[in-house]
């Protein structure tokens, strides 16, 4: 789907340039929260997803806590009943206290980071988008700067000269954004719409 010949990814990036923090953190957290919401409301009984969660021993601590923030007791209970019944208890019977092996949300987060970084290379080829980024966007957080450097070195070379003058949001600049425990994107997007509407008026 395209709007004015810009892809949805392109438009997402342009929106992220107005976020008061690392724009990549914004996009990744927004997408991850949607993914979690989708799992809880639509895919909790999906056999292949449940198998994957079981085999990986549940989720990491950070993403477990983020999942709890949805306050979906039924969805969470269904998932954890499966984990306790088919992973925790069988291991306890073998005198093993089983840890989480890997987390589907950590994996998804890495996927989103890569997707958005590769899209950014394309986005910043557009002169207007590049100016928009230069003028509005906050600096990338340190971990994401490193990731951009490794994933898309040409992109990093292009943006590096402008990074030192950009605003930074602390303390997230050091660590990446904290996992969102609510939908910050929704409020932000409404605020942005209001700003654009007032500008047109």
């Amino acid at each position: 789907m395209e709007k004015n010949n810009k892809s949805l990814l392109h438009l997402s990036w342009e929106t992220a340039f107005f976020w008061e923090g690392c724009p990549l953190c914004f996009l990744v957290q927004k997408s991850l929260r949607s993914y979690m919401e989708n799992i809880l409301y639509e895919s909790v009984n999906d056999p292949s997803l449940r198998k994957e969660i079981r085999e990986k021993g549940g989720f990491c601590e950070e993403h477990s806590l983020q999942l709890f923030s949805f306050n979906d007791l039924l969805g969470i209970s269904i998932i954890y009943e499966d984990i306790i019944k088919n992973y925790t208890l069988p291991n306890l019977r073998k005198k093993i206290i089983a840890n989480n092996i890997s987390c589907i949300f950590c994996e998804k987060e890495k996927e989103y980071e890569r997707l958005y970084i590769l899209a950014l290379e394309e986005v910043l080829r557009n002169k207007d988008s590049f100016e928009l980024w230069k003028e509005n966007a906050y600096d990338f957080c340190q971990p994401h700067k490193e990731l951009i450097k490794n994933t898309a070195p040409n992109l990093y070379k292009k943006i590096e000269p402008f990074l030192n003058t950009k605003k930074r949001k602390y303390p997230e600049y050091i660590y990446k954004a904290f996992p969102w425990d609510r939908d910050f994107a929704e409020l932000f997007l409404k605020k942005l719409q209001m700003m654009r509407y007032n500008k047109i008026k």
Binding site: G58, E61, E62, S64, L65, F68, L73, L74, I76, S77, I78, Y80, E81, I83, I84, K85, T88, L89, L92, R93, K95, I96, I97, N99, K169, Y170, P171, I174, Y175, K176, F178
Partner: protein, 139 residues
């Protein structure tokens, strides 16, 4: 349902630590998030240099290393530290406990069935705290 003894102690000590902080110190991401909840203005837009040692991580490790109580009073996260010291009897208690927790979660799910009322009083979060060690988190 009992709280994990170590989680409880860690949470108490952390709260004291964060409330007494009067200048920003380096903390790891997990602990910085907690500090921000109790002391938000301390870290707002302040540049902190990343260091190797988080004092709150050290505090948690100390509390775990000094524990000499009953293993059956611990969550699975903290029990992992003592896995090779757990006596046979405690394994049996643990298995029975977790079978009971499983039944409880199952009942909670069942209570969402058509023409039933979801259980208002449920201990699902407490059970998950015992599973994951999240009882030690300030949130």
């Amino acid at each position: 349902m009992n709280e994990c003894t170590i989680c409880k102690k860690i949470k108490e000590e952390k709260e004291k630590f964060y409330k007494l902080l009067n200048k920003p110190v380096y903390l790891c991401k997990e602990h910085l998030k907690e500090a921000l909840l109790l002391n938000p203005k301390l870290y707002q837009d302040k540049e902190i240099q990343k260091e190797e040692i988080c004092p709150v991580c050290q505090l948690e490790k100390r509390i775990i290393s000094y524990y000499d109580g009953n293993f059956s009073d611990l969550c699975l996260y903290h029990l992992k530290y003592f896995e090779d010291k757990i006596p046979e009897n405690t394994w049996k208690i643990l298995i029975k406990e977790w079978e009971d927790y499983l039944k409880h979660i199952h009942n909670v799910i069942e209570s969402y069935s058509y023409n039933k009322t979801p259980l208002k009083e449920n201990n699902v979060m407490e059970i998950l705290n015992l599973l994951l060690g999240t009882g030690r988190k300030i949130r």
